[in-house]
Symmetry: C2
Subunit: 410 residues, 2 copies
C-alpha cells in the first residue's frame, strides 16, 4: 500500500524540533511492507492540511499523521481529518472515563478544553494512549485510510506498537518479516562481496547491506502469504549468511553492540572498569546507558591529563616521555594500572588523538591505542579512523573498545 | 518570501537517516525572515520530484532542495530542476578544474561519472562546495526561485553559509537580525511573566520565549530596512531583557552552557576535575567535547560502584551506610576526596538515581546531589528532575553540574 507520513506542527517548520517520528514510522512501515512515498510537514492550519491530504491521496492510499491531537485551539488534526473523511465527531463515554482517570493519576485538574479529547469520529477505530491524554484513531473512507497518532515520540511509538501495527498488519497485502543483522569489523563493500551471489540471485528473501556509523548491516526480508512462511524463509537465509560472515555478526536482532556486550557481562558476572583518555568518558557514558549495568560496571577513570594518568593509574613518566601519551605502551600501562586499583575482571584502556588539533604526521588525528587486561594477559590494538571530526573519531574509538571486549568474552 | 524545503532521497523515506537538514534550514530561513510553509521529502524519482515542485510553487516562491547532487545515476535533482526551470546544463570549465583538484586532494581517481558534476544550468548562480565534489546553485525562472544544496549535512551547512545565505539576504524584502538569549535556572512560564509587557507591547523587535531540554530561551528579532537599524533595535531590547533577568542569562549568542563554561575555565586558567556516579561519564564526555579543553580538564573519576567511591575518593563506608550513596554527605565526601587526589582548582561531584529502577519514596528516580569544592569550600545542591527517563535525568543532572560551576566562576 502506498503510504505518506504527514507531520503536523508549526514547531517543526520553525526548526524547533527534529522530526524523529517520520524516521521511526518510515522504518516500521517499510518493514511491514508499506511503500513510504512521501514525508510531508505542514503547520497548524486547516486549509493547508486539507490541501496536503488532497495531494497525498492523489498517489497514496494511506496517510499517517502525527501531531495536532492535543487539547488546545491550534490542535486541529482530528477535526480536519474527520471532516475530510466525511465523518462527524461524537462524544465517547469510555474515552471520557479514561481521561478522568489519567488526570487523577497525574494529580492535575482536568480543564474545560481537555473534554475535547473525549470526542472521536463516529466510524473511527480508537487507539488508546497509555502515556498521554490524546487518543489516536484509524478512519476509512472510500478505500482511503488515515491513521492519526499523537506528536510526542514516546506516546506515538507506544500507540503505534499497541494499536496501529496490528491494524496495519491486517491491511497489508502480504506478511513481511525482516531481520537486521549487525556486524562489526567488516566493511560494507567486503560484506557485499561475500554475499554477492545471495544478494543477486534472490527475489525472496531479499538481502541488502548498508553501512551506518562504523557498522555494516545486513537486512534480510521476506514477503509471503503467511507470517510463518516468511519467518521460515528469513531464518533459512540467515543460516546461509551466518555460514559466510558469522564471525563478524554480533546481533541478529538489531541490538546495539553495547547492549549485547552488557548482557554478556551480566550473564557471566564479569566486572568491568575503564581508563579513558581521548574518549573522555564516552565509553563509561555508553555502558552506563544500560539500565542495571551497575551490577558489573565498577568505574571509569577518565585520565585526561598526563598527571592524572600517572597519579590514578601509575603510568610511568618515562613511558609518557619516551613513547608519548598516545602509544601502545601507555595504553598497556593504563590497563595494567587500572587492574591494580580496581581489581575488575576486565580492564580496558584507551589513549588517542581525537582532534581537531594535536595530530602529527606520525600520530595523526584519529589514531588511538586500546589496551585490554583480562585473565592476567594484556592485549593492545591500534585503531585508525578516517578523520571526519572529533565526535566521529571518539565514537568510532569507543565502538572499537566495546568490540574488543565483546570478542574477548563471547 | 514563502518557502518550502524539499529533501530528495529514498534513504530518508526508508528511515535510514534523520533529516537534520530540514531542521537546520528551517532555523536559518526563519531567522532570515523567510516563511517556511512546508517540509517535503521525495525519493529519487524524476516524475514525483516535478509533481512536488508544482505543488510547492502553488503556494511558495522559493524552494530549497537538499540531496541528489552526487555523481551516480540516481542523483537527479540538478537535471530535474534544470529542465523544470526551463534551462539547460552546460559544461563549466572552472568547476571541472575544481573537481580535478578535489580528487587530487583526496588522492582518489576521478571516474567517468564524476564529470557529470562539472555541468551546471546555464543561468545558474554557482555555489562551490569546499567539503565535497557536488556544486550547488541558485536558479530563477519567472519570479520563482530554486536553490539546490548537497545532502551531506556538513557540505550543506558550509555551502548555505558561504553562498546561499548572502544570496538570500539580497532577496529578502527586509533585513532580519535576531539573537537567541539562553538562560538557566528560570522556567519558561516565569520568564514569560517577567517579560510579559515587553512581549505584548512590541511589534518590532519581537520577543518570544521557549523551552528546550531544561533551558529557557528568549528570542529577540527585528525586521528593518537596513541591517544596522535591526541590530540597534535588537541590542536595545536585549538591554531591557538583561535588566529584568540578567542573573539567569549565560549566553546572548546561542552558545551551549558547556562552551561558555569551558571558555571561562580556559580564560581564568582554572583546572577542573569531576567525580561522577549517576551521570556515568556524561559530564566528562560533554566537557571534553570542547576542543582544547585538555589544558584545564584534568580527570573525571566515574565511581559507579560504592567500592570505587571508597577506593578512588576515600568516601567512608559509614557515610555510605548511614546516609546512602545518594546523599548530600556522599556528594560532599566525593568532592573533597577528589580534591585530595587531583589537586584541581574546581572539583565537582554527583551522585543520584538515574532510573528507571532503583528509586524509593524517599529517594525517587531523578533525585541527585551535586558537590562543588572550590577555594577551600564545599557547596552541595539537591536536584530533582521530572522523571521522564534515564537519558533525560542524566542530561538534566549534568546541566545542573555545569551550571553550578558557571555560577561559581563567572
Amino acid at each position: 500500500m502506498k503510504t505518506a507520513i504527514l507531520s503536523v506542527g508549526t514547531e517543526i517548520l520553525m526548526g524547533q524540533i527534529v522530526n524523529t517520528n517520520a524516521v521511526y514510522l518510515s522504518q516500521e512501515l517499510n518493514a511491514l511492507g508499506f511503500d513510504v512515498m512521501y514525508h510531508h510537514t505542514v503547520g497548524d492550519n486547516t486549509a493547508r492540511l486539507k490541501e496536503t491530504m488532497d495531494l497525498l491521496f492523489h498517489d497514496c492510499d494511506l496517510i499517517i499523521t502525527t501531531g495536532g491531537l492535543g487539547p488546545t485551539q491550534d490542535d486541529l488534526t482530528k477535526e480536519t481529518v474527520c471532516s475530510y473523511m466525511e465523518d462527524e465527531l461524537i462524544f465517547d463515554e469510555v474515552q471520557m472515563k479514561e481521561l478522568e482517570e489519567a488526570f487523577k493519576r497525574y494529580r492535575s485538574p482536568m480543564t474545560e478544553n481537555n473534554i475535547k479529547q473525549a470526542y472521536l469520529p463516529s466510524r473511527a477505530v480508537k487507539f488508546s494512549n497509555p502515556h498521554g491524554t490524546a487518543p489516536g484513531f484509524a478512519l476509512e473512507n472510500k478505500g482511503k485510510y488515515i491513521i492519526c497518532l499523537p506528536g510526542p515520540p514516546r506516546e506515538m511509538k507506544e500507540m503505534f506498537n499497541l494499536h496501529a501495527r496490528p491494524y496495519l498488519e491486517e491491511k497489508a497485502d502480504a506478511k513481511i518479516v525482516y531481520k537486521l543483522i549487525r556486524t562489526m569489523g567488516i566493511g560494507e563493500s567486503q560484506l557485499e562481496t561475500q554475499l554477492l551471489d545471495l544478494i543477486d540471485g534472490q527475489t525472496d528473501p531479499t538481502l541488502a547491506t548498508y553501512a551506518k556509523e562504523g557498522e555494516s548491516y545486513v537486512r534480510v526480508a521476506s514477503k509471503r502469504e503467511t507470517k510463518e512462511e516468511a519467518t521460515a524463509a528469513v531464518e533459512d537465509m540467515i543460516k546461509k549468511v551466518r555460514d559466510r560472515i558469522g564471525e563478524f555478526i554480533y546481533s541478529e536482532d538489531n541490538e546495539d553492540l553495547w547492549t549485547v556486550t552488557g548482557r554478556l557481562l551480566l550473564e557471566k558476572g564479569l566486572t568491568l572498569s575503564a581508563a579513558e583518555s581521548c574518549t573522555g568518558g564516552l565509553f563509561a557514558k555508553t555502558m552506563t546507558d544500560i539500565p542495571g549495568i551497575s551490577e558489573v560496571f565498577d568505574r571509569s577513570l577518565v585520565t585526561y591529563s598526563n598527571k592524572a594518568k600517572m597519579e590514578e593509574l601509575g603510568v610511568k613518566a618515562e613511558t609518557l616521555e619516551k613513547y608519548g601519551a598516545v602509544s601502545e605502551e601507555t595504553a598497556r600501562e593504563m590497563a595494567e594500572g587500572l587492574e591494580r586499583v580496581s581489581g575488575s575482571d576486565i580492564c580496558i584502556s584507551v589513549t588517542g588523538v581525537a582532534g581537531p588539533g594535536g595530530g602529527t604526521d606520525e600520530k595523526p588525528v584519529g589514531l588511538s591505542y586500546i589496551g585490554l587486561r583480562y585473565k592476567g594477559e594484556t592485549k593492545c590494538k591500534e585503531v585508525r579512523t578516517r578523520d571526519v571530526g572529533r565526535a566521529f573519531n571518539r565514537n568510532r574509538t569507543m565502538l572499537n573498545m566495546i568490540n574488543m571486549i565483546y570478542r574477548e568474552i563471547k
